[in-house]
Subunit: 158 residues, 2 copies
């Protein structure tokens, strides 16, 4: 079980977009992060479909955040890239075998699925507590402001 690395790219891209005054093309974000352009474009499309970022076509086009950094959560980004499917997917094996439970009596999820869903909920709640603004602040603190400042300058120099 592993989160697609597209999630990592998407998080970094959203952090970078907070420092851009104008739309940033996918190719430029790919160059900045040293990742393949075409594949990153796919992740950005997913973010766009999920409404996290907005795409602007045309010569001066690119991507911009749709909301202020404090309003975008890590959960939104994870769901945008990975989809909204549960991590633990119950296949109802309680209905199988010689002691299989009658499907008509399975309107309620089984105890195992409920327990796993509870744990997953804790993960999602923690992700929802993380905003892009928090991540920017964390990077800022790590680098004594040089990283974020450098980022803003690099994005400004077309």
């Amino acid at each position: 079980m592993r989160l697609s690395q597209g999630v990592e790219w998407a998080l970094h891209c959203c952090v970078s977009l907070t420092q851009a005054a104008e739309p940033v093309p996918a190719a430029r974000l790919a160059e900045l992060h040293g990742v393949p352009t075409a594949y990153l474009a796919k992740q950005l499309q997913a973010l766009s479909r999920a409404g996290v970022i907005h795409s602007i076509p045309g010569q001066m086009g690119g991507y911009v955040l749709t909301q202020p950094p404090s309003a975008i959560t890590a959960l939104q980004i994870v769901v945008a890239i990975e989809g909204d499917v549960p991590v633990f997917q119950c296949t109802e094996i309680r209905q199988n075998g010689p002691l299989g439970v009658d499907p008509a009596k399975c309107s309620k999820r089984c105890a195992i699925a409920r327990a796993m869903a509870t744990a997953e909920h804790a993960w999602r709640e923690a992700l929802a507590e993380i905003s892009i603004a928090d991540l920017v602040a964390g990077i800022d603190a790590d680098s004594s402001n040089t990283a974020i400042d450098g980022l803003r300058r690099w994005l400004a120099t077309g």
Copy 2:
């Protein structure tokens, strides 16, 4: 991102083993749950390597729990099947591109990796709070004791 279905099988098997007085062969667990024997055997081997269950070879052999149900957690089982790798694996893309951070200055994890690890920790803590005994109790409550009783009887009739 999805948890292998081996986790579901392993959880059900551990619940079933709580009701067995003698070692239960892999083939019998597979029959009980209506899943392919050969593949379930692989998951049971993983549980055995992790020390969650104990394997007894020979004619009267099979699997038994190594600890009381209240001492076995869902986290142990997830780790046994999926491995102990983190869900979010940071590939250090902050070191890439024109603004790449000097690798020598990356002894500390980046802010994004830290935030994701925090959320993952919440998930693991929640899983560690779930014991096999809890799951048995939950199933018992769902079925007015018929499911667990039936299970014990079926396992007793060799």
